[in-house]
């Protein structure tokens, strides 16, 4: 970026993206459903085979999409909660929360089996507000 005029304060050309982090963004091509892009980030090229990466992200996507899918049990759970004036939500865990917990467990598993041996660490997307999947390069 070359400019002869000073830049506005809200932008700083000197902030560089972190060298040791790769981000997998959300994929909105199917709408608002919870899905991450299966495209291998540039920083991970050579660190992990593409098909492994695609499979990992695909599995995570499956769990997340299931969290947002309405099923008979989900509807029953919601109706029951409604009848109790939503006081039932104080005691029970929703389907969505259960799915997110299973995603956390899966990420831990992948960190142990897939990413750990490759000196990578995947951060649970829930920690990042389901915006991105962050993958930390532990060793350059």
């Amino acid at each position: 970026m070359s400019s002869s005029k000073p830049l506005p304060n809200s932008y700083s050309a000197t902030i560089l993206p972190p060298a040791n982090k790769a981000f997998v963004p959300r994929d909105y091509s199917h709408g608002t459903e919870l899905r991450f892009s299966t495209e291998l980030p540039a920083k991970l090229q050579g660190r992990i085979p593409e098909e492994v990466f695609t499979a990992v992200i695909g599995n995570i996507n499956q769990l997340l999409i299931a969290a947002e899918t309405g099923s008979a049990s989900v509807y029953l759970e919601s109706c029951f909660a409604c009848l109790t004036g939503y006081l039932a939500y104080l005691c029970m865990e929703t389907q969505y929360e259960k799915c997110l917990r299973s995603v956390s467990r899966l990420v831990e598993e992948y960190n142990r089996t897939v990413f750990g041996p490759r000196n990578l660490s995947m951060i649970d997307p829930s920690e990042r507000g389901l915006r991105v999947i962050e993958i930390v390069l532990l060793r350059p």
């Binding site: 005029k5 982090k21 004036g85 915006r131």
Partner: protein, 387 residues
């Protein structure tokens, strides 16, 4: 190590150590809450007392259940996270912003802001995704940034001041159920408020309206309640009897009764008593004249069941000027209806004072004894037959 709620950067208000979140300004929410609570309390305290007894105890119970449900929905809407998208970490922000075309200055020296839109195809339709510089994230489709709360909210509906929070993906159903349940509850309270009013006024309405209607009918028929009860002019009981006072036409009867001549009072209570004349007390059986006359009284009574004076005193003037004539008339009437033998001397009528002692004079024939004035303060003790 601070908790995440302690370092929350937005303008929302975090309550109960991160368990609740709402807008900063809750004043309109308090108004909403007050309106609902106060009107419910008034309804339950006052209207339900009669309704529970008259209709069913389920009326206040249902009202209470609805009230609790409305409150639950309202509180959930207000104090739950509407679907705030947490802000991007600085690393993320740096990564995204490095990919954006930064601010450019073109040949003419015009400043072009950085491009922060990217196109996304959703089911064949192109959506433009915006990059939110405040929250450092690509806003998902249907998300929007709320300036009041300074957050990006997923599936942003609107910021509702009445509820004191944004309405977004997570609390939209509570908001909607709050609206619906409150509508139903309002209708319920309104209906039972009206029922309560009708019940309270029911008896009065029907009594007064009924009585009014009954008397309207009597007026039209030119009949009194007494006659109606006795059935004096009842066609069914005495078919040959007609009501001689009926003017033939209901409207004419109404006009006469309601708008006919007004008779003045004949009592003339405000006039001096002196014009009233001597109190002619017939010895009757009212017992006040002493036992001596009781026996005599009884015969008098049986003989003269009804004595009519014709205008004993029309007014004072008449009494003093025409008293003789009047008394004569009266006496004649008396003498006509009295038995031949009367107690006392001959056919004399003993005029007694109000207190039972004989008056100075005696009425016999045309004797003027009106002059014998009595202090008639004890008129109550003597019997005056006035029709």
């Amino acid at each position: 190590m601070p908790k995440r709620w302690e370092v929350y950067p937005g303008k929302s208000q975090v309550l109960f150590s991160g368990r609740c979140i709402s807008a900063k300004n809750l004043s309109v929410f308090y108004l909403t809450l007050a309106l609902i609570v106060i009107s419910s309390c008034l309804f339950l305290a006052f209207d339900c007392r009669l309704l529970a007894v008259t209709l069913s105890p389920s009326v206040p119970v249902l009202a209470a259940v609805q009230f609790i449900f409305v409150l639950c929905c309202l509180l959930r809407t207000t104090f739950s996270d509407p679907g705030i998208i947490p802000r991007g970490t600085p690393d993320e922000a740096a990564w995204i912003e490095s990919q954006l075309e930064g601010p450019q200055v073109d040949r003419d020296g015009n400043y072009r802001p950085p491009v922060r839109l990217k196109d996304v195809q959703i089911s064949g339709r192109v959506f433009k995704l915006k990059y939110c510089f405040t929250c450092k994230l690509w806003r998902p489709p249907r998300a929007s940034h709320c300036s009041t709360c300074d957050n990006c909210v997923d599936r942003f509906d609107h910021h509702c001041p009445w509820v004191g929070n944004c309405v977004g993906r997570r609390n939209y159903r509570y908001f909607y159920l709050f609206l619906i349940s409150l509508s139903v509850y309002c209708l319920y309270v309104m209906v039972f408020g009206i029922v309560n009013l009708v019940l309270l006024a029911f008896f009065s309405i029907w009594s007064v309206v009924g009585l009014g209607g009954f008397h309207t009918m009597l007026i039209c028929r030119e009949t009194s309640t007494n006659e109606d009860i006795k059935g004096s002019f009842n066609q069914r009981r005495h078919p040959d009897l007609i009501n001689p006072f009926d003017q033939g036409n209901g409207l004419a009867n109404c006009c006469y009764v309601l708008f006919g001549p007004v008779t003045p009072s004949l009592l003339n209570f405000r006039e001096d008593e002196i014009g009233l004349g001597s109190s002619i007390s017939l010895v009757t059986n009212n017992g006040r004249n002493g036992t001596a006359s009781a026996a005599a009284a009884s015969t008098a009574v049986t003989a003269t069941p009804a004595v009519r004076y014709s205008n004993l005193t029309r007014n004072n003037n008449d009494a003093t000027s025409n008293s003789v004539g009047h008394v004569n008339n009266s006496v004649q009437v008396i003498s006509e209806s009295l038995p031949a033998q009367l107690p006392g001397d001959g056919n004399d009528v003993i005029v007694k004072n109000g207190n039972g002692t004989p008056a100075d004079g005696v009425i016999s024939g045309g004797t003027d004894t009106v002059g014998a004035q009595n202090s008639n303060t004890q008129s109550a003790s003597s019997v005056h037959c006035i029709v």
